[in-house]
Amino acid sequence: MSARGGIAAALAALASSGALACGVCVEDKIAATYDHAVVTEAAARRHVVVFAAVEGSGVPAEASRAVKEAAAKLKGVDRGTVRAADSPRALSFALDPRSATPEAALAAIQRAPRAAGVRLTLIRVLR
């Protein structure tokens, strides 16, 4: 598949109506961390872009920092692609699907010591 075709496929995934989370403001959470360059480059490499909602009772900024750091260290996450937002609370990153599934990647991030108490919910995967 060409890079252009990859982007089109990724956008098609974004256009799908089925949301993996509650459905309220899913696109807003995606928009909060959406980086067109990350999406474009991931599509060209046939990697996926994982979007997650961040929840938990801690200080949002600290939670964002913690999950961002944990994601950046995770095997399979493309360097420089981790994005986090405090409002709405969201996380995204490009991932090599041969290294981990999106669900497994999020579970690993949640297990990081500094991310204790943070819950990550998968809301969309751009393939």
């Binding site: 974004l14 256009a15 696109e27 067109h36 360059a37 937002a85 409002s87």
Partner: protein
């Protein structure tokens, strides 16, 4: 007699009781006007939003119901109105010498004006074209997700107002149920930044039966704030400095520009036209994102104000209309005679940031904004002279002019050529002592009869004032008696860089000391 009266009273009472149900029935049965806001008559059947990975090409906005400028086209007769408004990122001309990285609807700020009628079907589509290369837009921000929130619609926001990615197109249909002048804007987080970057527009919905008055002219006025800072990389577009969004200022509600229709003093440079005796209808909206407008037209009184643009919300004889963020009104007035009718946000700090315009009704309207004593924004670039100008305007302008002729005291235009700096400094520092010892000071008192008051100026303040006088003598070209006098644009700073700009809390603007 008493018995007769009692019987009569009983008859009356019985008649009254018998009449009660009839009255009640009569009240309902009488031809009462139908409630135009009866939900039963409204259309709550919008279509589901459809998002596709297909994009529009060519023009960035289309549709007979769309107007691009302040001249609002008459209502298109079709009951179904197809409108296309695409998203772009582009560099706009915000003020003389100021290019700004904007995000737009329809490739313009504000976005196109939409005009429809209650009951019309709106068939809307929008492509996020923020990833398209525009001329000079390589400086603009990266492509990102955007959305469209129509305040004129009654729809599920989670469906219709969802954010779409660059390259995607969203489309949906809805029916406006209420007449009004409504805002539309991007609702993607951070909404504040999207609106502050230019993503807004006006949606006019006429009553089913049209407006109750007939206007000779119709114009759309969109007030908004801009929060700018010089591009951190110091880039220029076409030789003009580039400015970007100052997110700190946005959050502090400290704009650098407050403007009508996306441009500093836009309607001073290109006035709206009218003729004496005409009824002018202005569709006015304040899209904010954060401040309030007190809209006023100098020289006339609003015959009718329809709050939020709905004739059912009518007020008469208003001098201003107060508009919070995302509030609108239709104001109508009669142009009483030939002249230049200045319109402003009567929060004059906002007017001084560019929220000024003129309705040119012929005759002696040439003096424009200055006619109404709106402070000139041409300002020296040297910080000392800038401070001196501010001090002059706050302490001296009541008695002195610069090139406007003598007032209570002498016209100070050319003072640095008439007197040396040492004399001026001594005079500003201690006028009482000068009046006792200096021959020239005594002559001034003899001529003007009012002693120069001691303003308790510091050494720094005196230096600033002299710096301003020198700047004025070198740069101002006196014309007429307008006050304050303006300088050529080449030697002036945009208001965002002057001390008159709203300072950030804890941070002085424009290099203030």
């Amino acid at each position: 007699m008493r018995k007769t009266l009692t019987r009569f009273a009983k008859v009356l009472l019985l008649a009254a009781i018998a009449a009660l149900p009839a009255c009640h029935q009569g009240g309902e049965g009488a031809a009462q006007p139908k409630d135009p806001y009866d939900p039963a008559r409204m259309d709550f059947s919008p279509s589901a939003a459809v998002v596709k990975s297909e994009r529009h090409s060519g023009s960035f906005s289309k549709g007979d119901a769309i107007s691009l400028g302040p001249d609002v086209k008459p209502l298109a007769p079709e009951a179904v109105k197809e409108i296309q408004i695409d998203v772009t990122h582009k560099v706009i001309d915000l003020a003389p010498g100021v290019k700004f990285t904007a995000w737009t609807f329809g490739d313009q700020v504000p976005g196109p004006i939409v005009r429809a009628r209650v009951g019309d079907r709106i068939r809307f589509s929008m492509t996020n074209r923020s990833d398209e290369r525009m001329p000079a837009a390589s400086f603009a921000t990266a492509p990102m997700m955007h959305s469209m929130d129509f305040h004129a619609a009654m729809v599920s926001p989670t469906d219709k107002y969802r954010s779409i990615a660059p390259g995607q197109t969203i489309s949906y249909e809805f029916t406006p149920n209420y007449p009004g002048v409504f805002m539309y804007h991007c609702g993607t987080p951070m909404v504040l930044e999207h609106i502050a970057s230019g993503m807004y527009g006006m949606f006019i919905v006429e009553p089913r039966e049209g407006y109750p008055t007939k206007a000779a002219r119709e114009y759309a006025i969109v007030q908004s704030e801009f929060y700018t800072k010089p591009d951190p990389q110091g880039r220029k577009v076409d030789g003009v400095p580039l400015y970007t969004l100052d997110t700190e200022r946005v959050r502090a509600k400290a704009p650098t520009y407050t403007v009508f229709n996306g441009q500093y003093n836009r309607f001073v440079d290109k006035p709206l036209l009218a003729k004496p005796g005409e009824r002018v209808r202005l569709f006015v909206i304040n899209v904010g994102p954060s401040n309030t407008s007190s809209f006023h037209v100098v020289g006339t009184i609003f015959d009718r104000v329809w709050m939020d643009g709905n004739p059912d919300n009518q007020m008469r004889g208003m001098q201003t209309v107060l508009l919070g963020s995302s509030s609108a009104a239709i104001v109508e007035f009669v142009v009483p005679e030939a002249g230049g009718y200045v319109f402003v946000d009567h929060h004059f700090a906002n007017a001084s940031q560019g929220a000024v315009g003129i309705i040119d009704a012929g005759g002696k309207g040439e003096e424009g904004a200055e006619h109404h004593n709106i402070p000139a924004t041409s300002t020296p670039t040297d910080p000392a002279a800038v401070q001196g100008k501010l001090n002059f305007e706050s302490k001296c302008l009541a008695c002195h002019s610069i090139g406007g002729g003598d007032k209570l005291g002498p016209d100070l235009y050319g003072v640095t050529k008439r007197r040396d700096a040492g004399w001026i400094a001594r005079w500003l520092h201690d006028p009482e002592a000068m009046l006792k010892s200096d021959a020239d000071a005594k002559k001034l008192l003899e001529k003007y009869r009012i002693p120069m008051p001691n303003q308790s100026m510091t050494d720094e303040g005196v230096k600033d004032m002299i710096a301003y006088f020198k700047w004025a003598d070198e740069n101002i070209h006196v014309h007429g008696t307008q006050q304050p006098q303006t300088a050529p644009p080449a030697v002036s700073k945009p208001p965002s860089q002057t001390l008159s700009a709203t300072p950030m809390p804890g941070r002085a603007a424009g290099g203030a000391k």
